[in-house]
């Protein structure tokens, strides 16, 4: 009784003091409300539960890449099987079909690497031109490219196949590489960034010093565009790496497949040949791990770039 009275009195006293200094009182109250231990526990518990959802498939592939085909079906999918065969499974993945998996991986690196670097260079040059020059036709180019952003890539894949087959370049590296060289989104990012980050005075000073127009872009503008460049390269790299319909439409020769199409190919054989379950699982693990590391290392760059991207919305 006595103690409750005392705490009540203490509360009244503090609330009285709060009334006396309303500004600091209200501020500290909301701040402490945000950090109440129970709130922190509830929020963190929700976030952890959601994290489990996002990690389940990745966890599954790590665990099950260590199993034999028998254990894959015979033991619980959330825990290890009777044998630990990770090394053997990975060796099987790398040597299956005469070592076609490493080749798919190299193809993916080639398509994504060359495609993203060149696409970024083209997008930066064009974006810079649209941001820093006033010339007739500028608005038309802008609207044309905006239209390109809004047209879905897969709607273009089929018509592109008709075009490339009339040119006779389907089922070649070019048929996947050439369409990867264009990034309308990258152009917008580069032009927004260039108009903010490349000062006109700098370009004028360069002109007075006798630097040519292409030199201005390469020597003065391009270094200023570095954050945009990193973002466009990453976006384009992932977009090409993840692309499925374009290579599916274009490529017939297994040797030209990127990793996605290759694994799709293996997965399609599982209903006839159960050992392909093991190969597909091991292959999926091998292709997820480097991407996961890349994402975790580079996520701060993505965030910076996404801020730029959201400006245009």
């Amino acid at each position: 009784m006595n103690t409750t009275d005392q705490t009540n009195a203490a509360e009244q006293r503090t609330s009285g003091r709060r009334k006396a200094t309303p500004v600091t009182g209200a501020r500290s109250r909301t701040r402490s409300a945000g950090r109440k231990p129970t709130t922190t526990i509830i929020v963190t518990a929700i976030l952890a539960l959601v994290a489990v959802y996002f990690l389940v498939p990745v966890y599954w592939v790590v665990i099950n890449a260590t199993k034999s085909t028998e254990d894959l079906f015979g033991t619980n999918g959330f825990w290890f099987g009777n044998d630990f065969l990770l090394i053997e499974n990975i060796r099987a993945v790398l040597s299956a079909n005469g070592g076609v998996f490493p080749r798919w991986a190299l193809n993916s690196v080639l398509y994504s690497g060359v495609g993203s670097v060149l696409a970024t260079y083209f997008a930066c040059a064009a974006g810079y031109a649209l941001a820093k020059y006033r010339f007739p036709g500028r608005r038309f180019v802008y609207v044309l490219v905006l239209g390109g952003v809004l047209v879905p890539g897969t709607a273009v894949a089929l018509p592109l196949f008709f075009l490339f087959s009339s040119l006779g370049i389907t089922n070649t590296y070019w048929s996947v590489l050439i369409p990867s060289l264009v990034s309308p989104f990258g152009l917008f990012l580069a032009s927004i960034y260039a108009s903010a980050a490349v000062p006109d005075d700098l370009l004028e000073a360069g002109r007075i010093d006798g630097v040519g127009e292409l030199g201005l872009f390469h020597r003065l503008a391009l270094p200023q565009l570095t954050p945009a460049i990193v973002t466009i390269v990453l976006f384009q790299f992932v977009a090409i790496w993840n692309n499925y319909m374009l290579p599916l439409v274009m490529l017939a020769d297994e040797k030209l497949y990127p990793i996605t199409l290759g694994l799709d190919n293996w997965q399609a054989q599982t209903d006839r040949l159960p050992e392909f379950y093991q190969l597909t699982t091991g292959g999926a693990l091998l292709s997820v791990i480097p991407l996961a590391i890349l994402i975790l290392v580079l996520q701060r760059f993505w965030r910076g770039g996404l801020t730029e991207g959201s400006i245009k919305g």
Binding site: A26, R29, R35, K36, T40, V43, T44, I46, L47, A51, F54, V56, P57, V58, W60, V61, L72, F73, N76, G77, F122, A125, A126, A129, Y133, L150, V151, P152, T154, A155, L158, P159, L160, F162, I178, P179, L181, V182, R207, E213, L214, F217, N242, Y244, M245, V249, I259, T260, Q267, A268, S287, V288, L291, I295, W302, T307, G309, S310, I311, G313
Partner: protein, 294 residues
């Protein structure tokens, strides 16, 4: 002062690739969509002749029950999936940016991780979590008396929705977080002075100010929904519920490569492209209209 050719030299590489890989194919598709192809000879060995068909292919596409059904399926899918995903992304962004969240960096990276996993591999991984006999989830649910067939005809659309949501929620969340971070600190200070709680801050300050990011994510998601292809195409071999004309894109693919009806395939591709364009334009229009009314 400046050479007139300089901007065009800088634009040239982009425009050459852009025009040849986007504009020309689209024009070609429009051309094909208005033509029909006659094969002479039993196997087409007599060569093909193209003739102007008018709107024949469009009439055929729009009166094809399977194609209309696939569009209806995508609208239903989009309404449910995009809503769930954007609400989830917004809630996660607000929770991660609140003072109460522990380890925000770790959770942010974890949620974003699936974006880096190609749709093909995500679908393979999830399909192994769907297949009875292989899936631990089906086993665990069976133990507590819930028998779900994730690949059943009625369920498989939502199993696909789950894969898409899993892949893109973290990506959309990062776009929203980027905009949340751009809200000036003084606004939060002012709200605190007015005695606003966390909920009031979210509804009165954060949600209105992240509207541009929400619009962006919604438009990207709508375009993505219309493009749905890899996930159902891969699950097709496992689920009796998925036909080869399950989504508009699968339909166009089937007409081009399985039925060899390029006119029809082109008409369907044009309809998909125009719909995506129109939906995005409408979304942008609504966005700027509500912006003006504020």
């Amino acid at each position: 002062m400046r050479s007139k050719s300089a901007p065009w030299i800088l634009l040239a590489p982009f425009l050459v690739v852009f025009i040849s890989t986007m504009i020309v194919p689209i024009l070609m598709a429009i051309g094909y969509s208005f033509s029909s192809i006659e094969r002479s000879g039993l196997l087409g060995e007599g060569g093909v002749t193209r003739s102007f068909a008018g709107v024949e292919n469009y009439v055929a596409a729009l009166s094809n029950a399977n194609f209309i059904e696939s569009i209806g399926r995508m609208i239903l899918f989009g309404i449910v999936q995009v809503t769930v995903m954007i609400v989830a992304a917004t809630l996660l962004a607000l929770l991660l940016e609140s003072a109460s969240a522990k380890f925000p960096g770790f959770f942010r990276a974890t949620y974003f991780l699936p974006y880096g996993i190609p749709g093909v591999i995500a679908t393979i991984l999830w399909s192994y979590l769907y297949i009875p006999g292989l899936s631990p989830i089906v086993d665990v649910l069976g133990l507590v008396g819930i028998n779900i067939d994730f690949l059943g005809p009625n369920m498989v659309l939502w199993s696909i929705a789950n894969i898409v949501t899993w892949t893109y929620t973290g990506y959309n969340m990062l776009i929203i977080i980027a905009q949340l971070k751009a809200i000036p600190g003084e606004l939060y200070e002012a709200a605190k002075i007015d005695g606003a709680g966390a909920f009031k801050v979210a509804t009165s300050i954060q949600l209105p100010l992240i509207r541009p990011a929400l619009m962006l994510t919604i438009i990207f998601s709508i375009i993505g929904t219309l493009q749905l292809f890899a996930e159902p195409q891969l699950l097709q071999s496992m689920s009796a519920g998925i036909t080869s004309e399950y989504t508009p894109n699968m339909s166009a693919y089937a007409f081009a490569f399985q039925y060899n009806d390029i006119g029809m395939a082109a008409a369907q591709a044009v309809i998909i492209a125009v719909s995506a364009f129109a939906l995005s334009a409408i979304a942008l229009g609504i966005s700027s209209w509500t912006e003006k009314r504020r």
